[in-house]
């Protein structure tokens, strides 16, 4: 299905990959010619003019013409290389008009992706439509990162305090498009993922067979079913966790991922346009242990399960306890429909659906009496996710 990778370059998954590879191989063959020329003549001279008794070296003469020749003729080649390389670079810089804009935020050591309409995906998972130019608009919260997809041949540093951008157009999906709504509708060993059937996997080699070498078995480590994706790397060194730590994000799922520069990887899932549109509609899916079908979470049980998962993975548990023990922020136990008093002059209120929603999206709006010391960051969660958290809080009050 995909162009086979070679010994030197990985498979080509984007529209600009062939152009980059063409330049790569052009330079490669130029280098081979030069290397053979230089090594060959060197070896020949070494043999022919090895030191032998009675044979003297010939005095060195001058050959100004030769000097000038090999000083200036390489310029022609170099001029071509510059020209072609810069052209390729510009193709990778100037975005086609009909593109999708996705906002990328790098942070130690996670990627956050915000899709059109403000849908924020699960950390470290990027979904893009196939055959559609996608522009990533990137910036970083803390240190330098670099967004790198080897199979696309794109890379760009993600710089704090500044926007950088890159674009690509994927040429293949990471799954088969079937218009499924349940796993059962896909083949064996496949998951239904926003209408696309994507191969389940245990290790990277499963994905190599399914969608091609260079892909990897992504998903949250620890999940029962993991599905294939393309790896996204952070190529610019962004450190390790030995300095000041931000505990909430150090180890979101306890699996040991995302604690370090080398673990700052994301899954890139290329899906059909229909699947992508569906994703924009319903937002990121619940974790696999809570739901069997994608992106929908019917029933309070599933929602509470999802909410609990978010409570852990989004870092709520760092400040809010779930068992009533005191912490830097109000406990969630017994929170539901409890009377709250506020310290910054707001009227007392009942902790209902709207209040919790506001507290997640705009935490500084009303601050509960006695909890002025910690500033909670605003969280951008989809409606489904907020509903799930509310469901979870409800279960803690029963």
């Amino acid at each position: 299905m995909n162009p086979e990778p070679t010994i030197q370059m990985p498979a080509q998954w984007s529209t600009i990959a062939p152009e980059v590879d063409y330049m790569y191989y052009f330079i490669y063959w130029v280098s081979v010619v030069f290397t053979i020329g230089i090594f060959g003549s060197m070896g020949w001279f070494m043999w022919k003019y090895r030191r032998r008794p009675g044979v003297k070296a010939k005095p060195t003469g001058h050959n100004f013409g030769l000097e000038i020749f090999w000083t200036f003729t390489p310029l022609l080649l170099l001029a071509y290389l510059f020209h072609a390389g810069f052209q390729g670079y510009l193709h990778g810089t100037v975005v086609p008009d009909d593109h999708v804009e996705i906002r990328v935020r790098g942070m130690q050591w996670n990627w956050e992706f915000e899709h059109p309409g403000g849908v924020i995906d699960t950390y470290n998972e990027l979904k893009v439509p196939v055959n559609k130019p996608v522009q990533l608009i990137m910036s970083s919260n803390d240190v330098l990162h670099s967004f790198y997809v080897p199979l696309f041949r794109v890379k760009r540093d993600v710089v704090p305090g500044m926007y950088t951008s890159l674009w690509f157009e994927a040429t293949h999906t990471t799954g088969e498009v079937t218009g499924c709504t349940q796993d059962a509708q896909c083949g064996e060993g496949q998951s239904c993922y926003y209408g696309n059937c994507i191969a389940q996997c245990q290790q990277d080699s499963d994905c190599w067979e399914a969608i091609g070498e260079g892909s990897w078995c992504g998903g949250q480590v620890g999940d029962e079913t993991r599905i294939c994706a393309l790896p996204v790397f952070c190529a610019e060194y962004c450190g390790a966790g030995s300095g000041i730590t931000r505990s909430a994000f150090d180890d979101p799922d306890g699996s040991g991922r995302n604690t370090n520069h080398s673990t700052m990887m994301a899954d890139l899932r290329i899906i059909s346009q229909e699947g992508y549109d569906r994703f924009l509609e319903v937002g990121p899916p619940p974790p696999a242990e809570c739901a069997t079908t994608d992106a929908t979470c019917e029933g309070e049980e599933c929602k509470a399960c999802w909410g609990q998962s978010l409570y852990q993975s989004s870092g709520c548990s760092a400040c809010h306890s779930s068992d009533g023990s005191p912490g830097p922020a109000p406990t969630w136990q017994g929170l539901w429909e409890n009377q709250r008093t506020f310290m910054n002059g707001a009227e007392p209120a009942v902790a209902d659906r709207n209040y919790i929603r506001e507290s997640i999206l705009n935490p500084q709006a009303r601050i509960v009496e006695g909890f002025g010391n910690v500033a909670m960051p605003a969280y951008r969660l989809s409606d489904n996710q907020i509903d799930a958290i509310i469901a979870y809080i409800q279960t803690l009050s029963e």
Binding site: Y163, G372, N373
Partner: protein
């Protein structure tokens, strides 16, 4: 060099023969330098806009060349020393020129690469410092005692105690007269000046938020576009 003086009788090449400048010349040079200093201060008091900088650098360069030529004897110095010293300025120019070639052209081709503020939405890039995001490029001066009613709209800043934010919170902490202004986004957001209100609203958000606290701060504009920020801030004041 070494070959010319193997004998007791040393030739011209043996000892140093320095050029001695008359004292009068030095006095004249000093007077010129003082005069140029006077001139540069004079130019400062004439408002020339950006040309002030140009004139200042020009006069400084004239002064520097005078110091170099006479005080440092470059006029009588060996050619290599002159070339090397002036050559170093060439490298400074390369350094400056190429770096400016980057900093001044970011965002020209791909309009979104390298800019600090998204030209389309006016949003400031993630990671610019939450304070900067919240308050924009400009901070209002806190009111002097007695100027009641002008609450600083800065949010309380360093709840986490990590980033001391001097003037944020300044007024808020002291000025009990306006308790709702600081850290009270809901109200500010309801105000009639929507853009500025939002800016102020986000000011209350946490400075270290991992999520993008206060990215919508509309007051955040690029440094050269001061006017927008001004409007934003004034609008807030008007609430």
């Amino acid at each position: 060099m070494a070959d010319a003086h193997a004998h007791a009788e040393h030739g011209d090449d043996y000892y140093v023969h320095a050029h001695i400048t008359p004292a009068r010349t030095y006095v004249l040079v000093l007077a010129t330098l003082l005069f140029l200093t006077f001139l540069t201060v004079l130019a400062y008091n004439v408002h020339l806009g950006d040309w002030n900088l140009f004139v200042a650098v020009l006069i400084a360069t004239i002064k520097a060349s005078i110091v170099g030529t006479w005080f440092m004897h470059l006029k009588y110095e060996q050619r290599f020393n002159l070339i090397f010293f002036l050559g170093s300025l060439f490298f400074v120019i390369i350094f400056l020129g190429y770096t400016v070639n980057d900093t001044e052209h970011r965002g020209r081709q791909g309009t979104l690469t390298g800019v600090r503020v998204d030209p389309a939405t006016g949003k400031r890039a993630f990671g610019s410092g939450s304070v900067l995001q919240a308050e924009g490029e400009f901070i209002r001066l806190p009111p002097l005692p007695g100027e009641a009613g002008q609450a600083g709209q800065e949010g309380e800043a360093d709840r986490d105690g990590e980033v001391p934010e001097p003037e944020a919170a300044g007024a808020a902490a002291e000025d009990g007269a306006a308790p709702t202004a600081a850290g009270e986004p809901a109200e500010a957001g309801d105000s009639e000046a929507p853009t500025a209100g939002e800016a102020a609203a986000e000011a209350g958000a946490s400075p270290t938020a991992p999520a993008e606290a206060g990215e919508e701060a509309s007051g955040a504009t690029e440094g050269t576009e001061g006017t927008e920020a001004t409007e934003g801030a004034e609008a807030t004041e008007g609430e």
